[in-house]
Symmetry: C2
Subunit: 331 residues, 2 copies
């Protein structure tokens, strides 16, 4: 990871969950890190996420839809981690145009800015397994049909497409990672906009029961954020990754009920309850999902290292300590 020593790195969504953890690792590796973040209250950005490294990074508050700000910021960067996004599947259905503006249109603007002002930049785009929709088979590999079940999936697919196209047509070195459920310190826990696991953590720490939708037998895989960060760094530095799409994922596949059981075991008095799907969630639910991540394992040597038990324990510890910065406790 010598690549990053003194390298200029721009992270969009840099005060967000994955962005801030990536920033922390890059600072350790000696990079000059700039974090662009809109700090939209309903999204993932939170200054607390970088409280421990705030004197070692440059924060630039701006929206990826701010074309001129982005044109300025991309021009002098060696690496661009393009993580800013609207992540809520439900919000993408109630306000689809905003999702399009952020997840598709702004991505295209950023790529145009790179093409014009900095075609030598190395780019990684954070996409999502959501665009596979309801799986035809498991585990889901990168050849699985693409069938988004919500507006977010369609727009993220376009965002991916622009990155791959600018790589193949203009030689801009871009890679795409399709993240599965990522969790860990720094994730949004106020609500389920980023990950349902966030609100589960909060409910547990508030002494409320976790709510498991459906029958609780839905299978999922999870990546601890440190593993996700490692994948982002590998994708940014390995030539094999240029113009490619990789799934992240985990071999540790659990049902939501099992996950809830693991989590309640970490908090005194923790408990969960099974509740029916709200209809607006049912309409976009994808059933069982877990990834085949053999391609990134083979080509980039990546595999997750943090077990779910260890990752959940660290996550809950973090929010126990820092709760005040992530949500207001009920009076």
């Amino acid at each position: 990871m010598d690549h990053f020593n003194d390298a200029r790195v721009l992270i969009t969504g840099g005060l967000g969950f994955v962005g801030s953890n990536l920033a922390r690792r890059l600072v350790e590796l000696g990079a000059q890190v700039t974090l662009a973040d809109s700090l939209i209250p309903l999204y993932g950005g939170n200054p607390q996420n970088i409280a421990d490294i705030s004197d070692r990074v440059t924060v630039n508050v701006c929206d990826v839809r701010d074309r001129f700000a982005m044109e300025y910021l991309v021009q002098d960067t060696d690496y661009l981690f393009n993580l800013a996004g609207q992540t809520s599947h439900l919000d993408s259905m109630t306000d689809p145009q905003t999702d399009l503006d952020i997840n598709a249109s702004a991505q295209l603007s950023i790529l145009e800015a790179c093409r014009k002002a900095n075609p030598r930049v190395r780019l990684v785009f954070a996409s999502t397994r959501q665009l596979y929709g309801r799986p035809d088979y498991l585990p889901v590999d990168e050849k699985h049909p693409i069938r988004p079940v919500d507006v977010n999936g369609i727009n993220k697919l376009a965002g991916e497409g622009y990155h791959l196209l600018y790589s193949s047509v203009y030689g801009i070195r871009a890679s795409v990672l399709r993240l599965t459920n990522t969790y860990g310190p720094g994730m949004r826990v106020k609500d389920a906009r980023q990950t349902f696991l966030g609100i589960w953590v909060r409910q547990l720490l508030e002494g409320q029961p976790i709510k498991v939708f459906g029958d609780g037998e839905q299978l999922r895989d999870f990546n601890y954020v440190d593993d996700c960060v490692t994948a982002l760094l590998l994708a940014a530095t390995e030539d094999a990754a240029i113009g490619k799409v990789y799934n992240l994922g985990s071999a540790e596949v659990v049902s939501l009920r099992q996950l809830a059981s693991m989590m309640i075991g970490l908090v005194d008095g923790g408990r969960f309850e099974i509740v029916a799907f709200p209809p607006e969630r049912k309409a976009i639910d994808i059933g069982d999902y877990y990834s085949d991540f053999a391609l990134i394992e083979r080509e980039l040597g990546w595999a997750p290292r943090v077990t779910l038990a260890a990752g959940l324990a660290r996550t809950i510890d973090y929010y126990r300590q820092h709760a005040a910065h992530y949500w207001e406790s009920p009076p």
Copy 2:
């Protein structure tokens, strides 16, 4: 086709090539037809296209990006043929944001308008075989991987996605047709923005040689516009088509060199020359392409009926008569 008698029909891109031919057929079937068209000079809309039916249709000049106009127009329509689009692959690369605004963002607005004001509308979206990219195998069926080679393909894919999603999630009855090379009276012939065949017709009638890019051995299939219109009508009326994507195509597969030979045989003094690909076209060229259209044949009973020889003859006759309305002859 009794469905259309007295039916209220809205066609976006209605003064364009396919839209105007569709309007003509619908008028014959007794429909009350409204044509929405922006008449952007570089696009396909041309009042001459409906000169013969202008007193039997309602023309509303507006852009699909005009959200309020579209919200008004969709509310009282039984059928919406969503044909307006930016069609130039090259323009999508030089001005990608405009392509996104028209081919993706405006489509999403139209669907939102339908969801809110007219969820019982029956919708057909005209997509393109361009989103398959360079084929892995031939003929290309609907299961072929999607790999757009230009911004246009990415945005058309998003446009498709919204239609299919609004069908599956909200029950809005939408169908998607992926058109192959469509040709016939009314196509843009000023330049190659809509189809290369247009400029070939013009060059021939101006006594210039047709320019065939590459080695001329690229295979293609073509649909005469009347066949395309029939497919649109079937897609709009057959319940089997709801939520579905169908390829159009033809079993009459020819090389560009063969096509050029057929065309020069129709015009005294016609000739063609083989020229190297301009680099900006080479970058987005897809090699050989022809469609497998077995799915629409099986499910909707559609197959092309007009042979290439007959269709080309009718096309050249049309432009011989109406040249003055489609381009200015050189002095």
